[in-house]
Amino acid sequence: MTRLIVRRVLWTIPVILLVILMTFLLMRQIEGNPFRTSERAIPASIQANLEAKFGLDDPWWKQYVRYVKGVATFDLGPSLVLRNRDVNDIVREHFPPSLELGALAMLFALVFGIPLGLLAALRANKWPDYTAMFVANVGFAVPSFLIATLLIYFFAVRWGDIFDIPTSGWTTWQSKILPTIALGLGPMAYFARLTRGSVLETLQQDYIRTARAKGLRRRRVVVVHTLRNSLIPVVTAAGPILGFLITGSFVIEQIFAIPGIGRYYVTAVTGRDYSVVMGLTVLLAMIVIVANMVVDILYGILDPRTREAR
């Protein structure tokens, strides 16, 4: 079991290197000058100085190696645009809200999605199923920016005097409600559908028939036998979705004015702040990788068949 974990962890290294390399090469294709803060051109000498200061005049592979070393020591370098700030600082400041938002949205999605799917499956092809799936399909297909906008519209504009829910910032717990729902509704719908399908499939299995033939109480059959097995695909899905939630939340962050890395990422890219972009991309990639790794380990725990070393 530990061997499995170690092997997985080791594998992440080449992946990270590849990510850095690709981001690096891509970023260099972007035309533009990070040092330009206004419309006026920067004198060539100053440009050269700045480039030397940030090591941009070295050949690309040298920069790459230096950067990799930096990543290994958790030093993501200085920001090119905001002269007196480190990328690490930026991360420290902007990452927590995104992380929290992603985690809350995921929690929302799981807590509401799985029971919804379970209910739909247990009452398959009857009204509870149809309603639940209707809600799920809507939540899944409607883009989150619409949901966010509608939430703001109703809670702040129309019913502003009844509810006192802030629609921007990420401070009080009330301010976290709407963004969480907006971001989490899609995944919730996805989990509901996934759970429903998985439960239905599990119920067809022979071992469920065996469990019933043994006279076990329905509750036990559902919870111990059915749910456990049905949740495997849901758990597997949760990892990448968490990764996606954290890395793709920029729209929600924009709408709700949340100071997270999603929003900052866009700014950095358009501002050609190479080091920030690099740093954030590496960070985001790591999140995706870690999320997947956790899921793999969880999968091994849930499904004993996969535990054997292959």
Binding site: Y207, K214, L216, R217, R220, P304, R305
Partner: protein
Amino acid sequence: MSATPLLEVRDLATHFFTREGVVRAVDGVSFSVDRGRTLGLVGESGSGKSVTALSIIGLIPQPPARIVGGEVVFDGRDLTTLSERELEDVRGKRIAMIFQDPMTSLNPTLTIGTQLLETIRRHLHLPKREARRRAIELLDEVGLPNPEARLDDYPHRLSGGMRQRVMIAMAVSCEPDLLIADEPTTALDVTVQAQVLDLLDELRTQHDMAMIVITHDMGVIAEVADEVVVMYAGQIVEQAPVTELFARPEHPYTEALLGALPQLEDDTARTGRLTAIPGRPPDLLDPPEGCRFAARCPYANEFDGCATHMPALRELRPGHMVRSEHPTTERARRKEAAPA
């Protein structure tokens, strides 16, 4: 053996209500099983034998299927009238069932021990330690080596034969009065088949259980059954004690089934061909009005009304029921009576 039979199935009818129509999977089936005796239920796939068994303990998938008629009287109670909760008390404790494919019939994510113990604790209400001890005893009884270690194993680590033994152990764990075995050996290797059949027979005598063995294999019937019921297209076509059935089969279908058995002792052994029964069973969505075997029956002709009139199940000899207008003995008699 006097006494009331343990299980009496009367006119059981189970239909599947599908989008294409109503499939009459079991259409008026009656038989009984006495305490301590083994009933063999034989027929090809689609004959309704599994559905019959599932209907007895109420395990048919309820949305498409439903018991539309008949009674299943077990120890005085009609099981078709019981609620789900009451049935849950019967299943596993009074009537147990094992299934065909041991690979898929065990939950792959739970240990053998968990699956064994949950049955024991559910019905016998034993504390954990005692239940565990009993589980080990059971595994030993079914012939599993190293039973204590087995408890913590997952199903995928056992072979097919071992898994089936575990299933059997689970089934007899609460001393049921009746064990229904649905194709218990079909998915197993030939060598293991015999062992499992022996095991079942042994357990039956030891625990004084009645058994219903469902199979399509006449060889299995010959081994374990006391009484045989032959099913075809949702109906019983012949019923007799086992030796009687093999010695003097009456229904053309039964004859054909026996003819399809490879005979090792005959002189035709290496030269004769296995007789296959031509044709296929009727579609139960729209079964024919008359005898359902008529289309494949080598003796049906246009004068006997077999195509339009369903023959009734009649007692040809004491204890021997047949549903046919052309039972063997009558055919022989007719032949003699006919002018040369």
